[in-house]
Subunit: 385 residues, 2 copies
């Protein structure tokens, strides 16, 4: 198998595991958070800085890259790693979620999606075969199968249809996957918020004996409590020796809850998308740097933070000025800080598992005990930035 999870330690108080994910492009310490490089760049951040803040693996969006510059073009350059100058592991999603959610969907049928390109209006067909061709060309360490991910409000017959499609599409993806030696294809469990549909999907997907499994269809509009319940019910049922990836989630408390349920891999646009919008994270909660309260504040975003922004001495007042003046450096510094925030959380999570001291996390991260954020606050598309 192209990737392999080595488990190093387990929490005695919950399902959390500490591991090392071995990939063709190196090892990733898990639980791990993958910054999102939608179109071949983590927005506003140099690859070197992405690594400096502690990222070991990133996510690319097949949807965006297939439309521009095109997967064949990326393949000509030796694949996504070489094209974007990231030599660590990469995971690409299938493009299905964006085809569905980016509102130019023309048709979804039993064999795939038809949509108009957001770049040039071309009519595009995305089915299991083309989805795998694109991802084989991009050459990420982990590829994801095409799946049908209905929104949170979908009724039960729609979710059951999604399950059936997801299973058949997965079979077709496995069949047409051309790079099994150096590219792992994960399975995706769907089933919305219905426990018995989740269980059915899980059994069907696990039957394929894949190198890793993802929980999809989470944080697509439902509330925080539902997210946590679904993950807590699903993750522990996945094979213990394979990596578990929770797609597009989320806030700090969502990640901590999912790790406690046994999840190993995460991605989310929140650090970069929030950063571009002047929203910065601290252990005590988020701040909006546009607020007037910061205009005379000489403190860094967070005291003691070792990110290049805080350690570099940029004050909240200066950052507020950059956002007010529309200076690119504001979004850049805020994004780098937020990425470091997430990677520090994951560092502390790994430390808590290693020392089997899970309860210490909430002391160091007051934001975990803060009031729940509503689903309205979640990014509409949490996996493409």
């Amino acid at each position: 198998m192209a990737v392999r999870l080595e488990i190093i330690a387990r929490s005695t108080t919950n399902e959390a595991r500490l591991g090392r994910l071995h990939t063709p492009h190196g090892v990733v310490e898990t639980p791990a958070f993958m910054p999102v490089a939608t179109a071949g760049s983590v927005k506003g951040v140099w690859p070197e800085q992405v690594r400096q803040v502690g990222s070991q693996m990133i996510l690319g969006n097949a949807y965006h890259l297939m439309l521009r510059p095109g997967a064949e073009r990326v393949a000509e350059f030796g694949g996504l790693h070489r094209f974007m100058r990231w030599d660590g592991p990469i995971l690409t999603d299938s493009g299905g979620y964006q085809a569905f959610s980016m509102s130019n969907l023309l048709k979804i049928d039993d064999d795939g999606f038809t949509f108009r390109s957001i770049v040039d209006g071309r009519r595009i067909r995305l089915d299991p075969v083309s989805c795998m061709r694109v991802q084989n060309q991009l050459g990420a360490d982990v590829a994801m199968p095409l799946d049908d991910c209905p929104p949170a409000g979908a009724d039960r017959p729609r979710v059951e249809l999604a399950l059936e499609r997801t299973r058949r599409w997965l079979a077709a993806c496995v069949e047409s996957h051309a790079r099994r030696e150096d590219q792992a294809l994960f399975g995706i469990v769907q089933g919305g918020t219905h426990p018995e549909l989740r269980a059915r999907s899980l059994a069907e997907v696990v039957a394929f004996d894949l190198p890793g499994y993802a929980i999809g269809g989470v944080a697509v509009g439902e509330g925080t409590a539902e997210i946590h319940r679904t993950v807590a019910e699903t993750a522990p049922q996945l094979p213990a020796d394979r990596p578990r990836y929770l797609m597009g989630v989320g806030y700090e408390r969502d990640i901590v809850a999912a790790v406690a349920a046994g999840v190993d891999l995460f991605d989310c646009v929140l650090p970069t998308r929030s950063g571009r919008n002047a929203r910065v994270f601290t252990r005590a909660g988020a701040l909006n740097l546009r607020n007037a309260i910061h205009a005379r504040d000489s403190r860094p975003i967070e005291e003691g933070c070792d990110c290049p922004g805080c350690a570099g001495g940029f004050s909240r007042a200066y950052l507020r000025h950059l956002f007010a003046a529309g200076e690119m450096l504001g979004p850049t510094i805020a994004s780098v800080h937020n990425l470091r925030h997430y990677q520090r959380l994951l560092l502390d999570i790994r430390q808590a598992i290693k020392q089997d001291a899970w309860s210490c996390l909430e002391t160091a991260w007051p934001v975990l005990a803060a009031a729940s954020e509503g689903s309205a606050d979640r990014p509409a598309d949490p996996s493409s930035d």
Copy 2:
């Protein structure tokens, strides 16, 4: 005097001099190019990167900073160096050029400018006293006096009026300058393209015995030949032991011609403004990264360039993709490359003076021999980005 020029070597073939400008924030090797940090940031570039590409001194715009966040606010933070986290030398311009050129000028009279703030529409008065107050608060190593800089097409009576105002305003600026110990006030020579008015202005300004002199009113709409002639006639007449600064100029050939005329300091928005617009400089000339010709080009912007973009292996094809996709990293990488391009030119210029081998410059920089660029191509406001 707050700054002092130490001359180390002179060319035997022209007026070029190699020097060290001693300032309260360290030494600058001259001839030197100052990147423009209009609103307290070199657009899209971390201060650390500004230094990494070889910049030793930068320029800030009093006009933009007085409007937002306000010079008092910057002073509360210990001045512009500390506010923007640049610990090297800084020069601030007076704000007069922007007050005049940014098209919301309400009135120019014999005592100063009245204009509307581009930030909030407030009516603002800029006169010698407020200009010096603002720059004293910003605390740059070099401050510039308020001057009257008419556009290239101005008739002779208008230029003569500008000379008279520039002289009187300089006297008022010298009078109200409150930080002579740690902030040098330069004089500005005006006079448009009229040799005898330039000579008159020069005599009047030099009579103030200031720590440095600037040539203003160049590259304000006239052609390349006029720019070179004016500089060649003016620079050598300035006191040999004081730094000479050519404001807002320009292309590589303009800089080389001005150094040959004895100029020591330069600033221009070209590296960053062009970079944001996908225009990148090479020794052989500029490229537009948006052009389709780059779509399959695996070469860096310039072979052998040691900037973080070229040395980092980012291909022209990847950069074109970033610009096409509207990714912030494109403008950032292009700006950093262009800044390095300018600093490498200045490095080579200093080397050519040191080795007294001026003629070698054109061999290493074919762009210097290329056809002249028209004035239409010059930035409308070359000193605020």
